[in-house]
Amino acid sequence: MATDTTAYEEMIKGLWRDNPVFVQVLGMCPMLAVTNSAINAVVMGVATFFVLVGSSFLVSSFKQWIPKQVRISLYIIIIATFVTVVDYSLLAMLPAIHKELGAFIPLIVANCMILGRQEAFASKHNVKYAVMDAVGMSGGFMIALFALGSVREILGVGALFGVDLFGSNFEPWVIMILPPGGFLTLGLLLLFFNWFTERRKQFLGKVAEADRAAVLGVDKNG
């Protein structure tokens, strides 16, 4: 696997084709819980980025010495180490946002996307590929968090990153900053993503068919 793809491809796939949220539907808990504003979403994304890249690096480096029987608990210990670092760093640097994110920072440990990448990728590939994969996956996660957070903040408060967009006369969509808004927005974004993928597949199918017809010199209607 590692031999026929480049490290760059491993990174790119996480951003779009195998996006952890829109395609694999992983990590739904922080996705729904902390995206009521764009800044919370971005901070959560950065925290997840740090944890995933760090733990992928360590897991991939130590993979020869990790016994198969206890690998999951070792992965969790590695992840928890980085989560603790993130937790205290945020507490020191951004106490207000740390307070708002609350329990969801420690809960990064339980983010199935992170453990999933260790089990499925980092433990089977060398350090370079593992880190590139982690960068792509957490980048994709951040994109999804930001998409959800910005939609919810724009509609729910009429602002983006706390900057007022529509003036004081704006009617806020209260539901958007409440939990139902998270489910609605996520559902609609998934709908849009699947629709787009389907359209793209159809388009590529048509292109391939036209190519084949051109090569064979046969008119498909004839």
């Binding site: 009429g158 529509f166 006369n169 704006f170 009617e171 969509w173 209260v174 539901i175 958007m176 409440l178 139902p180 609605l184 709908l191």
Partner: protein, 338 residues
């Protein structure tokens, strides 16, 4: 193979020998809603008309956008989208900004119907889903009620109706409380006569019990709706509120309305005749209809008495909609001989 022959009409069982098609059933409901709509225009004037038009436009446009090109003509010709828009419009307050009514119609059809697979595939009543969305999204605008006016004020449009999209409406007239709000928060009753005629504050289509009853009776006589559901809702709601009234202690902080007040106030009649009886989202079996109706009647009184909001019809019906597949499953008649 895609079937493009419009003459071939596929229908699901039961295949009765009766000229009951979807457009015909819809036509009955349109006729039945006519008196209530006229009453809405009489009491709330041009504002009501504009709100109804906006929500119908939102519903029909959404249906049009999300339907395949070849099926568009059929999907729109059964008028179900327009009917959803009208039903939603009738549940909105008269001062609501028009863009919210449009958005509500759009959500009704988009999230309430199309996303489930179109007509007949939805779990929740689309109009009520749209209203629930609006109530959750714009809680203040959706509970600011304009007073019912007479014919002299027909051409007065609320300035809040004309708010620009995404902007707040500016309310000109003093807002009043609905009979249910008065009962819940002020412990103050409303005369049964005005509840019956509809000269009270409230959603534009829900106030006039008389005209809603006329429409409901028409549907019952035409057998467009199952009589069990309205009968079950009315008797349960009346009986339950009577029991609550009789067993209440004098120093209780909750005010317990009379059974008549329960039946004629708020959206109970509108919801019973036109939303709870929606053939798509109510049970198919007779026994299931009884359970469904009793559930709605019980929940509506419970929410009205002990819930945070004065009106409970919306959530009562939506909750029972959610239970409908289960009810259907457990009330299937036994096959003879087994």
């Amino acid at each position: 193979m895609k079937n493009k022959d419009p003459k071939l009409l596929l229908q699901s069982a039961p295949l009765l020998h009766q000229e009951l098609t979807t457009p015909a059933a819809m036509k009955d409901v349109w006729i039945a809603l006519f008196p209530a709509t006229c009453a809405a225009l009489w009491f709330f004037g041009l504002s009501a008309l504009l709100i109804i038009i906006a929500s119908i436009a939102g519903a029909v446009l959404t249906e049009w956008v999300f339907t395949d090109k070849e099926k568009r003509r059929f999907a729109l010709s059964d008028t179900s989208a327009g009917l959803t828009g009208l039903l939603l419009g009738l549940t909105l307050p008269s001062g609501l900004p028009l863009w919210m009514a449009f958005l509500g119609g759009s959500v009704s059809i988009g999230l309430g119907k199309v996303i489930w697979g179109g007509l007949g595939a939805n779990i929740f009543n689309p109009a009520l889903l749209g209203r629930a969305f609006l109530l959750g999204t714009f809680p203040i605008a959706m509970t600011t009620w304009g007073p019912a006016g007479g014919p002299g004020e027909f051409f007065q449009i609320h300035s809040s109706n004309l708010a620009l999209p995404f902007m707040q409406g500016h309310y000109d007239a003093l807002s009043t409380a609905t009979p249910l709000g008065l009962m819940k928060f002020e412990h103050q009753g409303t005369e049964l006569v005005s509840l019956f005629m509809g000269n009270t504050a409230g959603s534009i289509g829900e106030t006039s019990s008389l005209f809603l009853l006329l429409g409901g009776l028409f549907l019952l006589i035409r057998r467009s709706i199952d009589w069990r559901i309205p009968v079950a809702i009315f008797s349960t709601a009346a009986l339950f509120s009577l029991i609550m009234l009789l067993t209440s202690s004098a120093e209780s902080t909750t005010s317990y309305p009379s059974p008549f007040f329960t039946l004629f106030s708020g959206g109970l009649l509108l919801g019973t005749f036109f939303m709870a009886t929606d053939p798509v989202t109510s049970p198919l079996t007779p026994k299931g209809c009884w359970i469904f109706g009793i559930g709605v009647g019980f929940l509506v009184v419970l929410i009205r008495l002990y819930g945070g909001l004065p009106e409970g019809m919306l959530y009562a019906i939506l909750l029972m909609n959610a239970a409908t597949p289960l009810i259907d499953r457990y009330t299937q008649p036994k096959i003879f001989g087994r």
